[in-house]
């Protein structure tokens, strides 16, 4: 029982982190109809920027405080992401108005290529660390209930709380502002959105900046866990089944999807894996998502796919 709970909890924590990356996909998809393959690259770029600025800024300005360094680095990295968003809009999206989803998707693959490499050229391709003082050692709770107690990872707990806070903020932002409606309109029909005067350029810069910001937060958390290096862009792979399970257009879907995938993955690996030779969690996540889609083709909370003649 104790072990089961640990697994469950571990799954929830991992799921929260997936959700964080998934959120970036959802925001951009929801607001522009672009499935952003570059999200992973954005995570990498943001994390690299954060890690290196935290190293450089104290050198440039000559101070010691780690907290200040992290804060300044975070701001600098966030600014970098805004610049990226602006460039992406200027150089790519602007010229791809009204094109099909798959064309846009490919363009983001191109962008991913550019970001991956530009990030490494600018910031280096070795391993860097982000140290925001996350506690790494585990804590044991409920020792009197279960034998040996329940082991929880504090780092995961902190990360999950952070992720949850971000998600709540974004949900509010999108629901309570007039921009929300405009964003959804853009996703439905670029041209019609233009015709009613929605400034695509501005919307896209905003959305991609928010996407970049989310990528930054994800990058910081994952980066403090894994170290920052090219591989961190691969955490995006973990987010695919999450986005799709939750529904491409739903913020809460990304969260719930993340939790389901996280838990499903861990439980399957631990309780089913040994019978199949292990290593099943990766495809199991997809099979889980697939099973849900067979019942709800638009994911848990996605907008219903419309077909009408």
């Amino acid at each position: 029982m104790g072990f089961f709970l640990e697994t469950l909890f571990g799954g929830l924590m991992a799921g929260m982190l997936y959700a964080l990356v998934a959120l970036g996909f959802v925001l951009i998809f929801k607001a522009s109809g672009v499935f952003n393959f570059a999200q992973g690259a954005m995570v990498l770029f943001a994390a690299l920027a954060m890690a290196r600025f935290a190293e450089w800024i104290p050198q440039w300005l000559g101070f010691q405080s780690a907290l200040l360094a992290n804060l300044l680095a975070f701001v600098a990295a966030a600014l970098c992401m805004v610049v990226v968003a602006w460039l992406v809009e200027r150089l790519a999206l602007r010229r791809l108005v009204n094109q099909e989803g798959i064309t846009l998707l490919m363009a983001t693959l191109g962008i991913a290529n550019i970001l991956d490499s530009a990030g490494q050229l600018l910031f280096g391709s070795a391993t860097y660390k982000i140290d925001i003082g996350m506690p790494k050692d585990p804590m044991i709770v409920l020792e009197n209930v279960f034998q040996g107690g329940l082991l929880l990872s504090k780092e995961d707990l902190y990360a999950a709380v952070l992720a949850a806070a971000l998600v709540t903020m974004l949900t509010l932002f999108f629901q309570k502002t007039a921009t929300g409606r405009a964003l959804r309109a853009v996703a439905d029909d670029h041209q019609a959105a233009q015709s009613v005067g929605i400034p695509l350029a501005r919307i896209w810069v905003i959305v991609w900046s928010i996407g970049g910001f989310v990528a930054l937060v994800a990058g910081v958390i994952w980066g403090s866990k894994l170290g920052v290096q090219y591989s961190i862009s691969l955490v995006a792979l973990k987010a695919f089944p999450v986005v799709i399970l939750g529904g491409l257009t739903s913020v809460p879907g990304a969260i719930l999807g993340g939790l389901i995938i996280g838990v499903g993955e861990k439980l399957s690996e631990i309780y089913l894996g040994p019978y199949l030779g292990g290593g099943i969690e990766n495809w199991f996540a997809y099979v889980l998502a697939l099973a849900v889609l067979l019942v709800r083709p638009q994911g848990l909370f996605g907008d219903k796919i419309i077909d009408r003649v």
């Binding site: 991992a14 391993t127 894994l226 170290g227 090219y230 591989s231 961190i232």
Partner: protein, 410 residues
Amino acid sequence: QAAEQFIPLLVYRTGQFAPLGIPWADGKQDYLKLINARDGGVNGVKLAYEECETAYDAAKGVECYERLKGKGSGASGFDTQSTGITFAVTDKAFVDKVSVETAGYGLSQSVDGTVFEWNFPLMGTYWTATDVMLQDIAKKEKGSLKGKKIALVYHDSPYGKEPIPLLQKRAAAEGFEVQLYPVTPPGVEQKSTWLQIRQAKPDYVLFWSAGVMTPAGIREAQASGYPRDKIYGIWWAGSDHDVKDIGDGAKGYNAITLQNSAAKDKVLDDIKKFVYDKGQGTGQANGVGSIAYNRGIMISMLQVEAIRAAQEKYGKGKALTSEQVRWGFENLDLTADKLKALGFGEMMRPVKTSCANHMGNDWAKIIQWDGGKWNITSDWYQSDKTHINALVKEFAEKYAKDKNVKARTC
């Protein structure tokens, strides 16, 4: 124009494994620069080289191989830096008559020179590593592994699976239990693996990881409270960059190494003097001497010595063909004195290859991370050949049969 000997340098300076690939590649190139700058080449034959980026991708590696194999008087041997690329080019090497040197990786069975005429897994294979780790564990356990539980947490790829046959063979013979935990690459999420370990409580964990899988695994071990000093990482998971950022969290983590890590050997001083001080360095000067970097210069040194040996036979001061260099690889005899003269006396142990034994002598050590640097915690171990040789024979024969290769007699 003076003769030139061409050495292809397959590298990965980008991609998932770049933190390992970059110092490795720098080391390989720097040593060649040193030879040219200090000695004016090998008996007057300048070394020419060209890097080709593989990004650890087999298809790209094959392209690099094809492009470089015929350069100059013929490529002097490929250090592919990747198990996958080694697999892909091994078959081609038979046809093209080019040698493939895989120090510390590659196909474990390619030790058998009768079948693998063109492969040279110099200094050690993954079976060496497995065996040495077990030796070290046995020493800690007062000589016997009986009844112990040993887990293998591995990169789920051919690379990660290499140790399995030997582990299983020895487990059967020595009465310990093997638990296998595959981690799907790239291994950014290992929570379930380490939860399982927390539950199964193996006595030791052998950690066959690469790239981001290493820090992720160590962190997860920390988070799930598994003692780091019970973990043994393979040499690709035992470089500075793998643990540096984890710091104290990785304290106690063991890794195996083919060389005396962080040894300040003469060759390093020479490189600083003849290469970096002249502004010719490939990488940053402060990278010189790191574990992965030293691996690079050792590999280039073996390469150069093979050329030197071959020149003895085929004519000093001449550019050799690939086939001629192969002879050099097969007849390496780096004694302690020779190594000392080369400036590697502290760093490594003697190597001697032969027609039948393409690995030469395999020596390895255990190092341990103390939170700030690696410390050597063991003596040199040489792998125990009782199980390994049988396995080599078995697997080499299978390959020969599959590929229709006729084994040479040596």
